[in-house]
Amino acid sequence: MLEQDSGLSLTIARIVQRLKGSSLHSQLERQARISLHNPEIKLESLKEDIKDFLKTSGWEKKLQNAVYSELNVFPSPCHPAAPPEHMKEPLAYMRKAQGSWEKRILKSLNSMCTELSIPLAQKRPASEQKELLNKWNEMGTDEPDLSLFRPVYAPKDFLEKEDFSELDLNVGQLGIDDSAQVPPEFFENEHVRIGQKVLAEQDSAAAQQYVRQGCPTALRADLWALILNISNQPEDILYYEQLKSNVIQHDLLVDSLIYKDVKLTASNDDYYFVFEDYLYQVLLCFSRDTSVLEHFAYSSATPPKSYIRGKLGIEEYAVFYPPNGVIPFHGFSMYVAPLCFLYHEPSKLYQIFREMYVRFFFRLHSISSHPSGIVSLCLLFETLLQTHLPQLFYHLREIGAQPLRISFKWMVRAFSGYLATDQLLLLWDRILGYNSLEILAVLAAAVFAFRAVNLMEVTSLAAAEAVLADLSTLKVMPLLQIFLFATVT
């Protein structure tokens, strides 16, 4: 009992510390001060009256949402005496694996730097700044020469690491206990009505619960913003503009990686090519956003460090590189692309993406024992396949078509670029609703189950890839439902 209490008070202390000094805090203070002018606020019962005022004016709800947001993102501390790296990753061998992975990426980036004699970062000359500012809205045209650049890594590089295949992690239950349906007529109207009510109440927790059953298209943008606690305040817009000016002033090597990635993936995509220019506006700003560094507190990854020229190893001259500590890989822009269907205002689009990244996407390209981490997803996928479709599993292994080789890229990209957009958004609804990426592994297994008959007949990896090459016609929810609730074990 005592331990529970001390755990709880630790959590409370941590949340209070994080919210202190936030803009919400100052807004609450301001509101409280303004409320003193209200006739209902009496000196004798000052504290109670202000509390009531904050409740009725909706500010208490905003505070609740912020607390809920913090709870969602940060894991509870394991033990008061635990060192900070345990919050990043409790398992030592995992930390080691992530460490060697990071070394590899940095080596690749540094060697590209030296080969091409391009600095990691440099200030842009004034004329270049002016030019970039002018074409900020259409960076898709006139691309720079990218022929010498190559992506620092791609999902397939990640997969080659065999260390984690022997790991004995307990995958456990999915926790998907409400059925996710394609809404039939009688359900849809009521569901929409409830959704509107949830939005009117502006309650994050209720929204998160609600989207487990899927979002109506017209409400999705607002519901996701509510769950992610994004309100696009003036200071947020200002922050985005500040990032934009950082882009204009300084040129980073990773910018070229971003350009290349967009040109190779989203620009050629039937659904997302329209939004190419938005992707630059989001990703270039993202790499300069130092607030993203905060997520490394609970991520197993560590941001790479770079040193001012000539001061190698001297800590005072160390900076994180890129400023947000995240090196983009091939396909990274596909995390942003689907969001363009929901948000057409760059600063809001930016904030939604950033929040999605620090809550979910970062786990897909770092090695950790977290249940939503890519390692656990791989294990979950293989376990599900082996359990529910043992014949298929062994058949594919026999012919040298290890299932994970095919499904890995789907999961790392959270299926973006593989599913039709409307289906993808339904899938991401559940990611938000369950605050977990496990559904990606389940869907991957469900896809194999769906195409099992054809897969049983293939005799090579290439043929298996061909059967699973086109997922654009799949309907996600029926697949998941059948797999979860109709399979006979």
Partner: protein, 443 residues
């Protein structure tokens, strides 16, 4: 041997030929007996075959009107069908389309129909779906009057008889079109030949932009008969995006990559991509609009699009030669402005069957397939006397846009404008079926 359909075509397009061959149809030459003729119309010329005399004739607009009439003796037999109506140009020539719509509106106004209601500015509330247009040189003075009301406006000049964006340019000064002035001393351009005729329309300089780029909609509409009007809309239309960011800036009026969405133009741009071809499905558009603007306004937009297509067909129905040997698959070009109002730009009689991407090829193949299934039932030798009412199962990706017969037999009295708010939660019924309420008032 059971007769196999004999087909003729004047274009070599795989999407067509594959469809004929898969039905086991037999290709014949133009001067042989044929059952099915798929031809491409160049402006108002029409290749006509008279089976018994083995003559191929290219007709001018004067004789076309008579080509199927009893008097001249040119007759198609019951087992022959063609993919065009003889005077389709009433709809598909830019100047005639506008003329017919204007005439239609005036007629409605004269008979006091509520459809012709105007607002306080004198604009039609329900029938204002074509940008203000004038014929040049005939209406030059009227145009000048209109131009002077808004001297900063931009206008678009389009040759009446050309396609694929050819010859189109934008103007914002009267001096740029002096040549079309009726009293112009340089009368070399004032030619009686319709080839030189132009239409000038108010340019929609506030198109809806997505990703900062202008786009238009290409929708396919199949008409099997005009009287009674029976038409089908192909569900898989697409948006055509410009490769360059849109700007209304006057310095870019000459940049066709900014303004003209025709693939024929865009594919020459630096940023043209051959994988997606700058095309988006209509369902993507719908998803985007629903997600960013809401369901009601999106439904309203699509309802309006269907409405203007039907109205345009109704406008030409009285003057169309409703020959029973004919059907036609039109390519409708529609632009949506930033207030989510759709505008009818033009109707094409021979929408391009060229495929710019792999997806495009599949789409056009299926389009022809579904069109043939409706126009030539069961793939058998046609009998043009049939009732042209195919069963639901063969529609494929088409859905009924308007069926006049069914609309008239449906006796319930409905409110004229109830369609916009009528989504009753039943999916798929957006007033596109026979129950288009407003037209129960039509004779």
């Amino acid at each position: 041997m059971a007769g196999k359909v004999k087909w003729v075509t004047d274009i070599e397009k795989s999407v067509l030929i594959n469809n004929f061959e898969k039905r086991g149809w037999i290709q014949v030459a133009e001067n042989e007996d044929w059952n099915f003729y798929w031809c491409v119309i160049h402006w108002f010329q029409f290749v006509c075959l008279k089976p018994s005399r083995n003559i191929i004739a290219r007709m001018s607009v004067q004789t076309i009107r008579n080509v199927f009439s009893v008097e001249t003796g040119y007759r198609l037999s019951d087992d022959q069908i063609v993919n065009h109506f003889p005077n389709h140009y009433e709809l598909t020539r830019k100047d005639l389309m506008v003329k017919n719509i204007k005439r239609y509106r005036k007629e409605l106004e004269k008979e006091g129909s509520p459809l012709a209601e105007k607002d306080e500015n004198g604009k039609y509330i329900y029938l204002d779906f074509v940008p203000v247009t004038f014929m040049l040189p005939a209406d030059y003075n009227l145009f000048v009057e209109e131009f002077r009301k808004n001297p900063s406006s931009t206008w678009i000049m389009k040759p009446c008889g050309k396609a694929q964006g050819k010859g189109i340019f934008l103007i914002n000064k009267l001096s740029q079109i002096k040549k079309w002035s009726r009293d112009s001393k340089t009368s070399s351009f004032v030619s009686q030949s319709s080839k030189e005729a132009y239409v000038i329309s108010l340019y929609i300089n506030n198109p809806l932009l997505i990703g900062g780029k202008k786009f238009d909609l290409r929708l396919y509409v199949l008409v099997s008969t005009y009287r009674p009007l029976r038409c089908y809309m192909y569900k898989l239309g697409f948006c055509r995006f410009c490769t360059v960011k849109y700007t209304p800036s006057t310095s870019e009026l000459d940049n066709m990559f900014v303004h003209l969405t025709n693939v024929a133009i865009q594919k020459h741009g630096d940023d043209y991509n051959h994988i997606h071809g700058g095309k988006w499905t209509v369902s993507n558009l719908r998803l985007y609009l629903e997600s960013t603007r809401g369901k009601e306004v999106t439904n309203k937009l699509f309802d309006e699009i269907h409405w203007i297509i039907v109205q345009s067909l109704k406008a030409v129905a009285p003057v169309m030669n409703n020959d029973k040997h004919c059907f036609e698959c039109y390519g409708y070009d529609i632009i949506i402005d930033d207030k989510l109002k759709p505008w009818l730009i033009e109707v094409n009689a021979s929408p391009s069957l060229t495929s710019s991407t792999a997806n495009d090829r599949i789409l056009k193949y299926n389009l022809i397939n579904d069109t043939l299934n409706i126009a030539v039932p069961n793939g058998e030798i046609p009998d043009c006397k049939w009732n042209k009412s195919p069963p639901k199962e063969v529609l494929g990706n088409y859905e009924v846009l308007y069926d006049e017969e069914m609309a008239q037999s449906d006796g319930s009295d409905r409110d004229l404008r109830s369609r916009s708010g009528q989504s009753t939660g039943t999916k798929g019924n957006r007033g596109r079926d026979s129950g288009k309420p407003v037209l129960t008032t039509w004779k």
